[in-house]
Symmetry: C2
Subunit: 234 residues, 2 copies
Amino acid sequence: MKHPSERLSWQDVRNDIRGKILNSTYKPGDKLPRDEDIAQQLQCARTTVHRAMRFLADEGLIERRRKGGTMVKTNPIKRAILEIPITRIEIETLGWSYQHRLLEREILTASPSLLTPFPAQDNERLLHLKAVHLADNQPYILEDRWISLTTTPAIESVDFNKISANEWLVRHRPYSHCDMQIYATIPNIDEAKFMSVEKTVALLALERTTWIEQSPITHLKALHAPGYRLLSNN
Amino acid sequence: MKHPSERLSWQDVRNDIRGKILNSTYKPGDKLPRDEDIAQQLQCARTTVHRAMRFLADEGLIERRRKGGTMVKTNPIKRAILEIPITRIEIETLGWSYQHRLLEREILTASPSLLTPFPAQDNERLLHLKAVHLADNQPYILEDRWISLTTTPAIESVDFNKISANEWLVRHRPYSHCDMQIYATIPNIDEAKFMSVEKTVALLALERTTWIEQSPITHLKALHAPGYRLLSNN
DNA sequence: AAGTGGTCTAGACCACCTC
DNA sequence: AGGTGGTCTAGACCACTTG
């Protein structure tokens, strides 16, 4: 400690309680004292205890219910938080040179017979892109993307040789939420060609749809180079 | 609105500000008014605005600095939150029957010549397990796990035919943080045998080390059945 | 019906950072 | 050096949920 101030910070309270859970003073399923009792015992305001408790609840360590009180969770949820950066930034951060190459660009109109992973409305105009991100001239990510020209009309005139759709969207089209799926797959013939790999390697695939409220903005399927690892630290 | 209460909740304030960011009233890079001005404009306490702002900052939409003020982020971070349940619960939730089979159990002493992904101390006693989780009698997850008997001695006497290490640890050994890696791989001969798959399929692998403060508790490598998808909703 | 957590307010002071 | 966000307090009232 630097200057042990006389007032307790909410982090102090959080650490105190979390410590008692981690060292099994309070075991899974146990009920913790009321906020007010803890406040009185530690000599701080109830609001401060509340702030600490909310943090622990967000973390998934405890569960709180009005009138029911606070319990230590029996099934602490393991939350893994993945931070997904702009691909260019990721590659440059790793010290490699970045390049982006547009492979295909087409505009289609959604219809029942058009097969797309994008949840489009009938007759909606869609921009379909294929592109590859290169790290030190090696294929790094192959992306197959659908974009709604209803939700984001401005993207029709973007020159994707200058900026990737990934980056343009991140910078100009905030979203409210997204769905994601991660899985392992073997490339098909085209994908193997574009990625310059054999057809027998395992690749990590990431599919993501982003939404603005109820309207879909874009669907992305990103195929990563062999050996790619998604990392998470919590 | 149900009963438009006269007081503004912090969620109201959050929605107001978030709305103005999503509809581009405030664009990436823009500076937002001071908390106090917003409070005065909306007729609420500064604390309430602060609560809303902290939420948006946690969400990654804005960035706040003392004296610097509040800015709309230019590179909104995409945070994907994965919730990793106990395997048995996951399988049962999907409506399948769950079974767990212990394949191998050994106790080893760490030494420089012992190759393990676990960050062990020299001479530390380690429990090494291999097990398979079955869903409707089909292999679902193959796990290879190392556990420190220093950090968690009680696990030496657990009967893993009755409860999986996964579940025992979650229920009895809270952790402070964990590292995770996700990647795609092709199974080796043993793995293919235990999983009852060809050696040419792509499998999703998940490696995780959990810690209690500075001390490692366990390292897990989990190999998932073909077609497995990790899902995330934000 | 009553107990517990959730939130709002107003005011004060602190800590950090830019100007 | 001063402005802005961050936090603490005390008190009040609300909302949910359980006994």
